[in-house]
Symmetry: C2
Subunit: 205 residues, 2 copies
Amino acid sequence: MWKTEIRDSAETAPAAAPAPSLGASLKAMRLDRALTLTALATESGVSAATLSRIESGQLSPTFEVIAKICRGLGTGIEELLSYGTMKRLAGWRSLTRAGDGRVIETPHYRLELLCDDVIRKPYLVFRAEIRARSLDAFETLQAHPGQEQVVVQSGRVRVFTEHYAPVDLAPGDSFAFDSAMGHALVSLEAEPAIVLWVCDLRETP
Amino acid sequence: MWKTEIRDSAETAPAAAPAPSLGASLKAMRLDRALTLTALATESGVSAATLSRIESGQLSPTFEVIAKICRGLGTGIEELLSYGTMKRLAGWRSLTRAGDGRVIETPHYRLELLCDDVIRKPYLVFRAEIRARSLDAFETLQAHPGQEQVVVQSGRVRVFTEHYAPVDLAPGDSFAFDSAMGHALVSLEAEPAIVLWVCDLRETP
DNA sequence: CAAGAATTTTGCGGATACGCAAATTATTTC
DNA sequence: GAAATAATTTGCGTATCCGCAAAATTCTTG
């Protein structure tokens, strides 16, 4: 049906936990920037002693000092925590032949996911057949965090979004929107319309 | 050419600083999930007293308890910290009519960006005309952080990627890959192939 | 509005983090 | 290779965190 090949992967970390080791990450980042403990101490306003103990894992720093350190390093917490710990998956690729995608059926759409076996992709791409013919078919408009974009392949579709007048799209047209608005697509013709759909579920920052 | 409409936006926050207020964010997140302090306490293993003092800002928690709280909430640190402080841009949308996208010409491709006036979109979608006929035309393979996915619309294309044998794609086929591998697309026919291209430049974490 | 339950806040004691300064270890220089 | 300098680690005292249990507050319910 579909397959992904993976070239090179590092072992997975304990998962959800915010950080395997703050100390190691901090040390790695500091050394990569060629900073001494005392230098970072002056830069961040956290004593070298404390930095030392954090790096050696014999102390769980206060949020206040974490913030100071980040400011001193000019970085965000997330980057600091994940530094050096990137479970990088290099050189992957994935192929889905025409018609071979995983299919999801809903009352209104028929979705065919393309290359959805890749876990780390932050977005989804699927081919959708728009079957709904009118807004009445929808009980409520879909709304969720993230954003999406459609490109019409064939047929004509009308896009309803919460705060706006509907927009009609012909083949070749593209439409992007904040998924937080309720939204729905309907076909304007008897024949189901086909659209390419890109969907990113991440919170819009 | 294109236009974006914006519905509602909140003012921007002080930027780089790791967190304006951890307490406020935590409280917001906890309340949004309809959790009581005691409930979160059992969930996270941090006493309700401590949680209370964190929320009211009279205590700078240890990294250890921050981690526990995140685990209890099933969230990452970054999301927790930025919760409620999102410079959210709600209800935007953007339309590009067929042929109206911004065009970028390269020796090998003709790219038409779709809905590229939306700044906060973490990915790019464009329609590409593949003109290159052989790998020789490329000096070096493109490589950059991120990942991309193509869906063939018409024509037949061959995808070269650094560590693999080339893959041939026919209309309807879709192919996703890590952009860190060198990559190039060529048309297998005289007529330029048309592909829909989704490109996410963010570092694969 | 009073009685009851649930949620949040406040004392308090023990544990821990943090900065200063001294001691140890690593690096450089003559 | 010894002396000097730089970098990191180790006592130690104070300030702060954190959990337990009790007090105060808010939310139900008759």
